[in-house]
Subunit: 141 residues, 2 copies
DNA sequence: GTAATTGCAAATACTTTGCCACGTA
DNA sequence: TACGTGGCAAAGTATTTGCAATTAC
């Protein structure tokens, strides 16, 4: 098993979650995708399609998000997107407004400085940001 | 009438939209709010509540968005948020994950440089970004 | 054995559209 | 007059929940 999957499941166990097949497959799927995915995409994915109900995936995502292991993103679609929060992994995206393609941005994120300032000046706690770039990709243009 | 509202309506007229009471009130409401608003909020607002149907507000927002006068944002809620695109106005937000309060960020946006790089390297067209900070505001903490 | 987890189906929430009446140009 | 626009109601899509059965520990 992928060590990140293992670590994540261990983390879940410590939080009191039970080790179920669905949990394992969901985490593996999110990790392999390497981009945010919708509930519908996840429930229909190879690993989960015959494994469990969409409601189960939904509740797992909800639990994982409440413990900070998964983040729910707005993006531009009607459906919510979910991404696994892996320590040391960036989380900014480039999205094509025509075909919906989503790719992670490799460049270092330039907002940490501003985030620190906001934390100081406003007194907000547990601050994090969401940064997305939207445009029409070369293939669609 | 507010000059920005007037300019925006003039712009709409040039695009072929008709000058209706609903259009005027919607634009004025979005401008006065100074933060993104949901369809439900807009339809229930003082200026629009007794003015027109929610479907009308929806279709107006759709038309304005398709012409680039309004932008639809994801944010973290289930409902979509809409904001008027006023030339020269910033569009980054600070959002409380507990009470849902949304405020515009005054500081200069630090991602323009990165945006330019992405435009060059990836060939995406019509690039723009969406940047939000999420956290728990002092009142909720 | 006990409590968390799951599947299924039903309930919500929000968005989107059809159709005909209406108002702007 | 002609065509964009509006209201109302119905349909569509995504999310969320109730409850009894199941499973992890």
């Amino acid at each position: 098993m992928n060590p990140v999957v293992k670590d994540t499941i261990d983390h879940c166990r410590k939080l009191g979650l039970r080790r179920t097949k669905a949990l394992e497959e969901l985490i593996a799927t999110l990790l392999e995708a390497d981009r945010p995915m919708t509930l519908a995409e996840l429930a229909a994915s190879d690993r989960l399609a015959d494994q469990c109900d969409k409601a189960t995936v939904f509740r797992l995502l909800q639990r994982l998000a409440s413990h900070g292991l998964v983040r729910r993103l707005g993006l531009h679609e009607r459906a919510a997107y979910f991404t696994l929060l892996v320590p040391g992994k960036h989380n900014d995206y480039l999205i094509c407004t025509t075909c919906g393609r989503i790719e992670a941005i490799q460049a270092p994120c330039p907002v940490h400085q501003l985030e620190a300032e906001i934390r100081e000046k406003t007194g907000y706690r547990n601050l994090y940001h969401e940064l997305e770039f939207f445009g029409v990709c070369p293939a669609c243009a």
